[in-house]
């Protein structure tokens, strides 16, 4: 499974929906994300990929996770860092 597919599964589980409904362009808030969904999802992808994503709800970077694709990008960046370690 690609990183995108695994992230789609996680987002779908978070919302109790089918992964097929999500693409990289799906906007998380429009899809139904509420206040705690983002940090729960970040936690779930960290567990899935065994990575740490630098995410603080107070910083403007927090606004960077808008779409499913943004999460994929954050995961791939961390996976790349891990690979070079």
């Amino acid at each position: 499974m690609s990183t995108l597919d695994r992230v789609r599964e996680i987002v779908a589980t978070q919302l109790g929906r089918d992964a097929a409904e999500f693409t990289a362009d799906t906007n998380l808030i429009e899809a139904g994300f509420e206040s705690l969904d983002v940090i729960e999802t970040v936690f779930a992808v960290e567990e899935e990929f065994d990575i740490d994503i630098n995410f603080n709800a107070n910083e403007s970077a927090a606004q960077d996770l808008i779409t499913v694709g943004d999460i994929v990008k954050a995961v791939e960046e961390e996976l790349a860092k891990k690979a070079t370690k």
């Binding site: 970040v42 603080n56 709800a57 107070n58 927090a62």
Partner: protein, 400 residues
């Protein structure tokens, strides 16, 4: 209805081991936020906190007394002893003997939890201390205050996360105002600098990794603090008859629940809680001269609290400051600490500054006193607490 006086103050805080030194540091904006130092620190990423580093229980308790006391109970007892001495009444008097003890806490005996369970899960020990349960129960501090001071009135813990200390004082206020009690000890205590608790807060992604800057554009999140604060609330005429010093008067209490989101406050109910406190006191918003904000330093709190304040005061809010830049966020203790500081602000007619507000966020539409303490006459003040779970509690205090 009886009038309610605040006649005694006691505190253990990151800036000092009594109320006067705590107030002085807050007034001067001397922050106690610094490098975190705890057991098993290698498991924690967060580098900063406001800890009560100078506190040595051996200075207050015998070895035998310390054994059943979690750190949060130690803070509460030391603060309560100071408040009792400060109010100047005979400790053997009937009013003291029959007084209730109401102590707010968010987590109870967190150090006992962490250290005991570390033995079980981390060190594979099947033996933990026989006092583990009586140390960690949320009501331990209330019990220890009642035992230590000999208070035979009703004693219990109040737990409403970051509003616990405020709810505790609100309950004591109701007891005195209604004539049930002549005197009450109320406050809050939290000793939350444990590995497990810090890791749990990290998981919420709201902790700052440098310092707490409420209402400042360069805000970076909240910083955890610890400490305890206890206040003596007393029926006004009783206090006057015995010639007690009155720091301030408790005039109103407003409290409600968002019944909505777990961590995102609802501006409508935050605003309503403040309006309820003002109405409960029989005042109008224009008579309130200062607001001690919840002011955690998160993006969410800055936006919601300032919007609610602007709405309550119809666009013309009085000066507002957060004392968390100095003391951090001591969870269940913080509301009591801020009530104590608000009482001191009224007593000395000085508004404490918002420390670390180096880039005042003017878009918030409030005057957050960034430049330093302000000497200004004011007759009434709000002390705000807005907890996770949508639990709002606001005290209104007046100049004595």
């Amino acid at each position: 209805m009886k009038r309610v006086a605040i006649t005694g103050l006691g505190a253990v805080s990151p800036t000092g081991l009594d109320a006067p030194s705590t107030w002085d540091a807050v007034k001067e904006g001397r922050s106690a936020i610094g490098p975190l130092q705890i057991e098993r620190q290698d498991l924690v990423t967060c580098p900063v906190a406001a800890q009560v580093k100078a506190f040595d229980p051996a200075n207050y308790f015998t070895t035998k007394q310390i054994t059943p006391l979690d750190r949060f109970s130690q803070f509460a007892v030391v603060a309560a002893r100071e408040a009792l001495a400060d109010c100047g009444i005979d400790p053997e008097s009937d009013a003291v003997r029959m007084a209730p003890a109401i102590v707010g806490t968010g987590g109870g005996g967190l150090e006992t939890f962490d250290n005991s369970f570390w033995r079980v899960y981390g060190e594979n020990s099947r033996r933990i201390h026989p006092f583990t349960v009586p140390r960690l129960m949320c009501s331990a501090a209330a019990s220890q205050v009642s035992m230590n001071l000999g208070l035979h009135g009703m004693a219990y813990a109040v737990s409403s996360a970051c509003a616990s200390g405020t709810h505790a004082i609100g309950q004591a206020f109701a007891l005195i105002r209604s004539g049930v009690s002549r005197m009450a000890f109320a406050g809050g205590s939290e000793a939350c600098m444990t590995t497990g608790n810090l890791v749990a807060w990290e998981a919420l992604r709201v902790l700052s990794n440098d310092t707490c800057r409420p209402f400042s554009k360069n805000r970076s999140g909240l910083v955890l603090g610890e400490g305890g604060a206890m206040l003596v609330l007393e029926e006004w005429d009783h206090a006057v008859e015995r010639g007690a010093r009155i720091y301030a008067e408790v005039l109103g209490f407003g409290t409600n629940s968002d019944a909505g989101d777990l961590t995102s406050p609802d501006p409508e109910y935050v605003e309503l809680a403040m309006a309820m406190a003002i109405r409960d006191a029989g005042l109008t918003p224009g008579q309130v001269g200062y607001v001690n904000a919840h002011g955690t330093g998160t993006a969410m709190n800055d936006a919601v609290e300032s919007a609610a304040i602007r709405a309550v005061f119809e666009g013309a809010p009085p000066p507002v400051s957060s004392t968390k830049g100095v003391l951090g966020h001591s969870l269940g203790a913080t509301g009591a600490m801020e009530a104590l500081l608000t009482a001191m602000a009224l007593h000395e007619q000085v508004m404490p500054p918002t420390a670390h507000c180096t880039e005042p966020d003017t878009a918030l539409g409030i005057d957050m006193i960034p430049e330093g303490a302000r000497k200004q006459e004011f007759s009434a003040a709000l002390s705000n607490s807005f907890a996770f779970g949508g639990l709002n509690a606001v005290l209104l205090m007046g100049r004595a």
